[in-house]
């Protein structure tokens, strides 16, 4: 009757019951129900909301491009904010990211550098933008400074992590030749992280483009201010035109970022961008990562 398998002591169960994940899932489910009740999220609310939404979306169309000069001016300002903030942010994040790498720097250097990066990351760009608007006044300068801080926080952290993952064997070999510190950086460290760094930088430019269309809502320059004003005046057809323009800008930025990666990482030519399918291209970029 009793097979040898059943005779195994409980400790030899091949799939031990994991109780904690189950308990956690139940707790999360209970909290979701509780939060819905607290926030008065009910089916009736959703129904009236949907009716409202239909009305609003009806007024968005057709988009109204008659004030295209205002639109273009806002877009160009957003673009300038994004490019300037990315450039400044990358320039600051590079040394900070390097100083924060614990495998190359002593603790008394890496901890302060990491602390700066953590502070730069901890606040959302909109909150930082509000602070800078109060500090330096309305306009693009506040937007540039806010997005610079965001860039430092993002790239600084990723760059530090990239450096901490490099192969120290290659660094050791360069050190063994008697190379001075900056040559070790240039020949042992940088080649290992360069392509990833280009990836981070282009991603940050893309992210800054999106954020630069938003900081205007709090008065920090760019198309966001125009968008906010159009909302408040219920000019929904103009709002629609602005949204279309923003989407186009982001798509152009995406194309530009891909081109930059292709040029710098050097495993795809510009012609490849148009010849190849997106899947094939991504594979090659990942392979080089």
């Amino acid at each position: 009757m009793s097979s040898p398998i059943r005779a195994l002591p409980p400790a030899d169960d091949p799939f031990p019951r994991a109780w904690w994940p189950r308990v956690t899932m139940v707790l999360v489910a209970v909290y979701v129900v509780y939060a819905c009740a607290q926030l008065d999220v009910s089916w009736e609310r959703v129904q009236t909301g949907l009716a409202n939404a239909a009305h609003f979306f009806g007024r968005l169309f057709p988009p109204n491009f008659t004030r295209w000069e205002l639109l273009l001016k806002g877009l160009l300002e957003s673009l300038q904010i994004a490019v300037l903030a990315s450039t400044l942010g990358i320039a600051l994040a590079l040394p900070l990211g390097l100083l924060g790498a614990r495998n190359l720097m002593p603790a008394w250097v890496s901890w302060p550098a990491r602390a700066i990066v953590v502070v730069a990351r901890s606040l959302h760009p909109v909150i930082v933008a509000i602070l800078f608007v109060k500090a330096v006044g309305f306009g693009a300068l506040a937007g540039i400074l806010a997005l610079t801080v965001a860039s430092v926080g993002f790239i600084g952290k990723l760059f530090t992590e990239a450096i901490e993952e490099i192969s120290l064997k290659q660094v050791e070999a360069v050190r063994a030749t008697g190379a001075p510190f900056f040559s070790v950086l240039g020949y042992g460290v940088l080649p290992q992280v360069f392509s990833r760094f280009i990836g981070f930088a282009t991603y940050q430019l893309d992210s800054n483009l999106r954020n630069s269309t938003m900081v205007g809502i709090v008065g920090a320059g760019g198309i966001g201010g125009t968008l906010f004003a159009a909302f408040q005046r219920f000019d929904y057809d103009f709002v629609c035109a602005i949204l279309i323009a923003i989407i186009s800008l982001i798509m152009l930025g995406e194309l530009f970022a891909t081109a930059v990666r292709a040029i710098f990482i050097g495993n795809a030519t510009l012609a490849d961008l148009f010849r190849r399918g997106a899947g094939g291209r991504r594979d090659r970029l990942v392979e080089d990562d």
Binding site: K169, Q170, A173, A176, T177, G178, P180, G186, Y187
Partner: protein, 250 residues
């Protein structure tokens, strides 16, 4: 040429990996260090160019005690010591030419090196050396596109680019197949002879050591237990170095 006096190293206090090593390396010839895994062969080699910090002792080389150098003085001493690694340790993303020129980084300023402004003489020698190690035409290949044997040839060429007065090799053939291993050992022997420099190699393959080395140093338990010409390396000595005897029946 190179003299080690009372060299000791403990990674953990009280558990020495190297104990009181005394060793004299003559101005030329190949010395092979053999011994079981974990007996401190790699640590010994790495102490010499201070990739590992010795705990105590002296490393007399070229009129200075390497164990006491630091900063620029240590870097200047390292320029004269070439090193070949088990896993080649090439900079994978750089070209073969850039990897060779890494051997000149101790002589060329960082600013010039970043802009790839090496003296024409260095570049001429690099092309020459590529020819010598059998990799002519590979200058612009990226290191990660090479096979193991080719990488180790680049590793040797990089070390020779330093114009070293001493060549260290840390298990240079352990990641290679038997045929390539012999070719790499032959290349190291050729370099040692043609440049008249001493080579200190630590290795696992006793047969390769016997075939190419002028002198064998056997280590066991962090100490030197044999030192002599390959001909004196009897089965009894091997038993003493590696322990046991079953493995000798080949």
């Amino acid at each position: 040429m190179l003299t080690l006096r009372h060299l000791s190293k403990s990674y953990v206090p009280g558990k020495p990996v190297l104990q009181d090593i005394d060793l004299d390396i003559a101005a030329r010839g190949i010395t092979a260090v053999i011994g079981p895994s974990g007996t401190g062969k790699s640590t010994l080699i790495r102490c010499i160019n201070r990739l590992v910090e010795p705990t105590a002792g002296e490393i007399l080389f070229d009129g200075a005690d390497l164990a006491r150098l630091s900063g620029a003085a240590l870097r200047h001493a390292r320029r004269h010591i070439g090193m070949v690694f088990q896993e080649y340790n090439l900079v994978e993303r750089l070209t073969v030419m850039e990897n060779l020129l890494c051997g000149r980084l101790g002589y060329v300023g960082a600013w010039k090196a970043w802009r790839r402004k090496f003296p024409p003489e260095d570049i001429r020698r690099a092309f020459e050396l590529l020819d010598v190690v059998g990799l002519a035409g590979f200058a612009h290949r990226r290191a990660d596109a090479l096979s193991g044997g080719q990488r180790q040839r680049v590793g040797i060429a990089r070390a020779v680019m330093q114009e070293p007065k001493l060549l260290l090799a840390d298990e240079p053939t352990s990641s290679l197949d038997p045929k390539t291993s012999v070719e790499i050992m032959q290349l190291l022997a050729d370099v040692a002879r043609s440049r008249g420099i001493p080579v200190l190699i630590n290795m696992h393959a006793v047969a390769l050591g016997k075939r190419f080395a002028d002198r064998i140093v056997g280590m066991s338990g962090g100490r030197i237990v044999f030192d002599g010409p390959p001909a004196n390396l009897s089965d009894d000595v091997l038993k003493q170095i590696y322990g046991g005897e079953d493995w000798l029946d080949e």
